[in-house]
């Protein structure tokens, strides 16, 4: 039957979650019909392919009409065009902003610009995500970035408030925005083994410890009165990190640190010998990363530096994750016992993040 026109409009907007997902995944109507047919929905209600096609078309149209509203989710709540129950609205928004880890891994840390957008078909081909879905995800990143970029206050909260996302998804977006803003390098071959969730965790650590917003404890009652930015790293802190250089430039301090760490580690791990021999190298690596963070270029290379300067040497020495944990804990704590080392606060703030990042990143 060739239908000139075929519409179905419900007073309460009818949406099938399965079709919504197919639409989000960028399936064409015909492909979606095929998927649904294979899914066995036809047997369920004695439907024919015609019925399925007509239903899919209707739903696709509805989603297209909704898409404009989904771009500013707060509008979805008080628009009048579609009557959608609140829990369905939340589902629509959450799913619309959900992204493929494989895709986001490709654009993480890249500038969210037209240039990147042009590469989307390559990324799509590489990750197996349809171009349409890539565009949606990319535009979502860009949209969230644009809105949140200039806002004061905690990043995650801002995202959650403006886009009505779940906490988990808001945190992921915060990571994406943070990475895009600081342009962290994530695409190098050496970093390929890291997943988006690894980076998202690290981003969370950086956001909550190294940004301006991380310093002042925001009042619980009036969080909005504290004016700070969450997207940028705390410049002062980065300056102060230079002071940590003393740990490697001062020969005494370095030896002292080493002996403290080795005393604590002795007998506790099989990799003790490697730790002892590599101590100076590793310590230099970590402290140098800290000292260089004033340069934007080096900030971008933060993760690659961590891998090159610390994770790779450890891995080649076959340290276990427990070894890393043990080593870094003692490495961090021992610095406190050094009587000539005065930068305990900065040290903790630095090492706290680096430690948890490395823990997260130390896997195959």
């Amino acid at each position: 039957m060739t239908m000139e026109l075929d519409v179905f409009v419900g007073n309460t907007t009818i949406m099938d979650e399965e079709v919504y997902q197919l639409w989000l995944d960028g399936y064409t109507v015909n492909d979606a019909v095929k998927v649904r047919m294979d899914g066995g929905v036809m047997e369920e209600c004695e439907a024919s392919a015609d019925v399925l096609l007509s239903d899919t078309m209707d739903q696709y149209r509805t989603f297209q009409m909704c898409e404009r509203l989904l771009h500013s989710p707060s509008k979805l709540g008080n628009q009048l065009l579609f009557q959608i129950p609140p829990h369905r609205q939340a589902m629509l928004i959450e799913r619309y902003y959900t992204f493929d880890d494989a895709f986001v891994r490709e654009v993480l840390g890249k500038k969210l610009s037209k240039g990147t957008k042009k590469d989307l078909d390559d990324i799509g081909a590489k990750t197996g995500v349809t171009l349409k879905s890539c565009r949606r995800q990319f535009d979502n990143f860009k949209r969230v970035f644009k809105v949140v970029e200039e806002l004061k206050g905690p990043l995650v909260e801002n995202i959650r408030h403006h886009f009505l996302l779940s906490d988990k998804l808001a945190r992921d977006y915060a990571a994406i925005v943070f990475f895009a803003n600081n342009r962290f390098e994530t695409g190098k071959r050496k970093l390929q083994y890291l997943t988006f969730q690894d980076f998202a965790f690290c981003a969370g650590q950086l956001i909550s410890n190294w940004t301006v917003g991380a310093v002042g404890e925001p009042s619980v009652l009036f969080p909005s009165f504290v004016c700070y930015m969450d997207v940028d790293l705390d410049k002062e802190f980065l300056q102060e990190l230079k002071e940590l250089k003393v740990l490697i430039t001062d020969k005494d301090l370095l030896d002292q640190h080493k002996s403290l760490v080795c005393t604590a580690l002795r007998g506790k791990t099989k990799a003790f010998n490697e730790m002892e021999t590599n101590f100076k190298n590793l310590s230099r690596g970590l402290v140098n990363i800290a000292a260089k963070l004033t340069n934007t270029k080096d900030v971008r290379d933060f993760f690659i530096d961590l891998v090159e300067k610390f994770i790779e040497p450890c891995r080649s020495d076959r340290w276990t994750a427990a070894d890393i944990r043990l080593y870094l804990t003692h490495y961090n704590n021992s610095a406190h016992i050094l009587d000539t080392f005065k930068h305990q606060v900065v040290w903790d703030r630095y090492m706290g993040v680096v430690k948890s990042c490395i823990f997260k990143m130390y896997h195959d």
């Binding site: 000139e4 075929d6 179905f8 007073n11 009818i14 209600c45 004695e46 399925l52 007509s54 008080n78």
Partner: protein, 1071 residues
């Protein structure tokens, strides 16, 4: 100065960007009423402007208040060029003019532009101060309430039903005026929208005046339609039923509703009706609880309860024939445009004993647009009456004197009236009118159900004490009374097979009954009902003018006949014996006619079981042919058996002898009235395969019959979990849960094949309808178990090769388990004994039974005090274990069951049983209500936008309507010049329908409402020109804005409807 209208513009939001440079808008608002315009300040550079304007005050006549809408225009200020319009909001002031409706309009309205659709929202506040105008020559009719609902609105009671009101106004269509050549499409659309808004305001005001003249205060079943006649103009017409309604609530806080307190409410009902009217209290009480609104009629005659001196069935027909002559003597007055108002009773008439009847027959048109009635109102139903006429449109020369259009309708109504008379009926109920226009040809159609009504509700003059027409002292139980034939058995208007009623065994019933009304809630039904459709396409040669009109009118009777045959076959195939809500639409196109008949098939327990369908070949000798026939016959028999199971039709096998028609016309097919009137019968033919039942013979000697058989067997059964009907309520389903989904679906099919045959067309059309239904079932599968109610199909031929089908319906969920439980734990012994007892007096005389009928009456009304006391005690008992949901229903079922026994039998024991059970029933809502309110309280979700439910039914399951806020009647035009960009016609129409829904919801919410009942889409006219990338669509919707609340500890409205079914099913089981 009778009124002051005040408006305040508060704010806007989500406005479109009008200034590309700044990505912002400098918005301001013009508020216009009549010729006065006010402006707000410009709110610079904002998409969410806050105007917070002063109160703009308009001092106007109430006549203008009724006619004119308030027009709010949002514009973008431009310093250098003309201001750009963003969009408009038309606000109908009418609901504010009635003290009982809304008091303020306040809320967010979508800003609508005919080219761009919805562009943001605006928050407006409107109030009206009315001054009393006692001028008796006034032109306004403020205060007359309008309802689209075709029953007495819940929370009102009908003091009196005055009768038919109609009016039409005509104008030139702005689209066809010369100025349209030079103005923009937007200006043209807006002119049209405004004109139609004005015309419907005027129409409503004029109808209101007629109602006031008749002494009424409301119009129920208000049906307004537009005829876009093109060159010849624009007609807006409306019909309705004038009533005097009384609000059941007094307006004070806790005790507003008479049935607020479950303990006292039914009791007070019982006191209201039976004590004042000592005649049928048992029925009365049963009915007040079984029909939706408890309507204790104050105006009942207080006659003694003495039995009528003679049997009611025979005099019935005799009287009606005598009144026929009476009628013809009645001088007809008031012809022409305003003429159909009911007149006062002539002095001559008062001499006669039939004055009860005069109440109806003095009226020019004893028509009622209602489809369901207060209990006791409908006495007998004759059958469907319909009339069609084909007219050639000419230019309306003088809009103030729309004589031709009026005369046309007058003619049709007269015809309907005479058909009704031929069926021995004095009234037509479920009446509606429609048109189909193609170029200059117009088919006017009217249809209704011939009926005999109880005149007590008609006219005060008839309610004189002591004067009663005995024919209306209906002794037959309400579950079957309406099925009894109204016409004279010896002088039947058409051949029909009559039998004694299978329920009361006292009066005759036809073998099949077709009606346009809803199934009376108290009717006894076996099994479930289902949607039955007959579809037909007929090709016609293209022609002009007179020739075309003649061709069409020659085709009409054949179409009606074929539709009728199809309906009958399909009915028999489903093993049912009656149709309700029958609606036959015939649509005319340039080269074809489309016919679509929809109805809900039901097995009425009172009517005989339908015979099967017998296939007969013309040449019995041929072997291959014989074999073919046998296969078809087997398929048909299988389908019938399957359907019986599907619809749970297992009527009791009664060994009653069929009382045949006294007119032996065994082989004649159903005769059609010259004017294509439908009759309630179809002749049954040879007694063949189905035992003693007569079978319907289909001879496959021609293509027609083959076609018939194919169309019969191609109807796919509804998938499991689904039911469908086109009436308000589904026979056999009564435990609705709160899931409601109203929807509109439109399909347009382009006929690609240039040389199609009738048969090919039929197939396409049938598939189109069937596929639509299939797609509904699929889409709504998440609601299973669910029923599609009020499935309203509209067909049109918008262009030469296009067929358009528009459907509006509601899907409602119901509790399946409860149904099963109810049928399962029915006490079978009682049913058995009931049957036995009943069979002892199968032909009990009416006089006897009516006297028997009166006994329990006096008994109950005699001891109201004790009833109350016992009821209270009982309520405690029941409350202790009534936490289960079904208890209330079980109780009612039990009660209904027993009530029926009580009402028919004379035994003391039965009476007392009935008595005690009924008293239990009075108090049982309390515990049930409590549990319900607990359940409902948790499921309210918070949202910033008021949820507005919409339904084409007159109620929302699980809720109770506490206030009617006024009628919603909106007309929109949408046009586009970028069809492809908007997603083609489908995208365009999808958006438009969604926009219309949202505007309806916004208006209802602004009135303070949360639901629209009796919603309907009257018009959905789509014109497209894909080559030019253009399309235009007109939509007209209407409904009643209401406030409804969840059922709390008050008497639940929908479940009162349930009772009717419960009683019906109980009776089924019993017989």
């Amino acid at each position: 100065m009778p009124g002051k209208l005040k408006a305040k513009i508060v704010a806007g939001r989500h406005l479109p960007v009008m200034d590309r440079a700044s990505d912002l808008t400098d918005a301001f608002v013009e508020v216009k009423f009549g010729n006065t315009t006010f402006k707000t300040d410009v709110c610079h550079k904002s998409l969410n402007p806050q105007w917070n304007s002063e109160w703009f005050k308009f001092e106007v006549d109430d006549e203008d208040l009724q006619d004119e809408p308030l027009q709010v225009t949002v514009l973008d200020h431009d310093t250098y060029s003309a201001n750009d319009a963003i969009g408009k909001v038309y606000i109908d002031i009418d609901p504010l003019l009635c003290s009982e409706a809304a008091s303020v309009i306040s809320g967010w309205f979508p800003i609508y532009d005919t080219i761009h659709g919805i562009r943001g929202e605006i928050n407006v506040l409107v109030k009206v101060e009315l001054f009393n105008d006692l001028n008796r020559f006034r032109q306004s009719s403020c205060g007359v309430k309008f309802f689209c609902t075709t029953s007495i609105p819940r929370c009102y009671r009908a003091v009196m039903v005055h009768g038919f009101v109609e009016e039409l106004v005509v104008n030139e269509d702005p689209e066809y005026q010369w100025i349209d050549r030079i103005r923009t499409p937007r200006a043209s659309n807006e002119a049209r929208q405004r004109l139609i808004s004005l015309m419907s305001g005027e129409l409503q005001r004029k109808i209101g005046l007629k109602v006031l003249e008749m002494g009424g205060n409301a119009v129920v079943g208000y049906l307004q339609c537009f005829d876009l006649e093109g060159e010849s103009g624009l007609v807006v017409r409306a019909i309705g039923t004038a009533c005097t309604l009384d609000k059941l609530s007094s307006g004070s806080a806790p005790n507003t509703n008479t049935h607020m307190h479950p303990n006292t409410a039914p009791a007070s009902n019982a006191c209201n009706s039976p004590s004042k009217d000592g005649k049928e209290p048992v029925f009365g009480e049963d009915l007040t609880s079984s029909s939706g609104p408890p309507t204790p009629f104050r105006a009942l005659p207080t006659t003694s309860s003495s039995p009528p001196p003679f049997s009611p069935s025979k005099p019935c027909s005799r009287q009606s024939s005598s009144s026929d002559t009476d009628l013809s003597l009645t001088p007809k007055t008031g012809m022409g445009s305003g003429g159909s108002v009911g007149k006062e009773a002539g002095p001559l008439k008062t001499l006669l004993r039939q004055q009860t009847q005069t109440a109806l027959e003095q009226r020019e048109f004893p028509f009622f647009t209602l489809t369901s009635f207060p209990p006791g109102f409908l006495v007998h139903v004759g059958g469907v009456v319909s009339a069609r006429s084909v007219k050639l449109l000419d230019r309306i020369h003088n809009p103030d004197e729309p004589e031709t259009r009026d005369a046309w309708w007058e003619e049709i109504r007269q015809e309907i009236k005479s058909h009704a008379k031929a069926l021995g009926c004095h009234a037509v109920v479920g009446y509606s009118e429609s048109t189909s226009i193609c170029e200059e040809v117009c088919i006017l159609s009217a249809s209704g159900t011939a009926a005999i009504l109880n005149p007590r509700y008609m006219r005060e003059g008839c309610l004189d004490i002591g004067i009663t027409d005995h024919r209306f002292e209906e002794p037959s139980p309400p579950s079957c009374g309406f099925c009894h034939i109204p016409y004279d058995e010896l002088n039947m208007p058409f051949p029909a097979q009559l039998t004694y009623c299978y329920l009361c065994r006292r009066q005759k019933v036809p073998d099949v009954l077709f009606t346009t009304i809803d199934l009376p809630p108290e009717a006894a039904v076996t099994g479930k009902g289902c949607l039955i459709q007959a579809r037909l396409c007929r090709l016609k040669k293209k022609a002009q003018g007179e020739v075309n009109a003649t061709a069409i009118s020659n085709l009409l009777p054949f179409m009606e006949y074929e539709l009728h045959t199809q309906l009958m076959n399909k009915l028999k195939l489903r093993s049912m014996n009656s149709l309700f809500g029958l609606h036959i639409q015939i649509s005319v196109g340039e080269n074809m006619l489309l016919g679509l008949a929809s109805a809900t098939g039901v097995y009425l327990t009172a009517l005989p079981a339908p015979g099967g369908i017998q296939i007969a070949g013309k040449t019995p000798g041929e072997l291959s042919n014989e074999h073919h026939i046998l296969t078809i016959q087997k398929r048909i028999n299988d389908t019938i058996a399957k359907n019986k199971e599907l619809y749970q039709i297992n009527p009791p096998e009664l060994t009653e002898e069929v009382v045949g028609s006294p007119i032996p016309e065994p082989r004649q097919r159903s005769r059609l009235f010259r004017s294509h009137s439908e009759s309630s019968d179809e002749v049954s033919e040879l007694d063949l395969s189905h035992g003693k039942k007569d079978a319907f013979v289909l001879e496959i000697d021609d293509t027609d019959a083959v076609e018939d058989i194919h169309s019969l067997l191609t109807d796919a059964p509804t998938p499991t979990g689904f039911y469908s009907c086109n009436t308000e309520i589904m026979p056999g389903i009564n435990n609705w849960t709160s899931g409601v989904q109203m929807f509109t679906s439109v399909r347009v099919f382009r006929l690609s094949n240039a040389n199609l045959t009738n048969q090919g067309l039929n197939k396409i059309f049938t598939d189109l309808c069937e596929n639509l239904l299939k797609s509904f079932y699929f889409k709504l599968r998440s609601m299973i178990p669910c029923c599609l109610c009020q499935l309203n199909f509209t067909v049109a031929v918008p262009e030469e090769e296009l067929i358009q089908v528009t459907v509006t319906a509601v899907a409602m969920t119901f509790d399946k388990d409860q149904t099963q439980e109810k049928t399962a734990d029915k006490p079978p012994t009682k049913g058995g004994s009931e049957t036995e007892e009943q069979l002892q007096f199968p032909l009990e005389l009416c006089a006897d039974s009516s006297s028997a009928n009166c006994q329990p009456t006096s008994k109950i009304s005699g001891v109201p005090e004790s009833t109350n006391v016992s009821s209270r005690a009982a309520s405690v008992d029941y409350g202790s274990f009534a936490d289960r949901c079904s208890t209330w229903l079980e109780l009612l079922r039990l009660k209904a069951h027993t009530m029926r026994r009580g009402s028919v039998k004379t035994s003391r024991r039965t009476q007392s049983l009935a008595h005690s059970v009924s008293s239990l029933e009075r108090c049982s809502p309390l515990p049930e209500g409590r549990s319900r309110s607990l359940r409902s309280s948790r499921s309210f979700g918070g949202s910033s936008v008021t949820v507005v439910k919409m339904t084409p039914l007159s109620f929302l399951p699980g809720t109770r309507i506490i206030k009617y806020l006024g009628i919603i009647n909106m007309f929109f035009i949408r046009e586009t010049t970028s069809l492809r960009e908007e997603g083609g016609v489908s995208g365009f129409l999808h958006t438009f329908i969604a926009e219309v829904f949202s505007m309806v919801r916004a208006h209802v919410a602004a009135l303070g409402g949360n639901a629209v009942v009796s919603y309907s889409m009257k018009e959905c006219m789509l014109m497209e020109n894909p080559n030019k990338n253009q399309a235009q669509c007109l939509i007209n919707v209407s409904g009643d804005a209401v406030i409804c609340v969840r059922e709390t500890d008050q008497e639940p409205t929908p479940s009162t409807t349930n009772i009717g079914h419960t009683s019906a099913s109980a009776t089924d089981e019993a017989t």
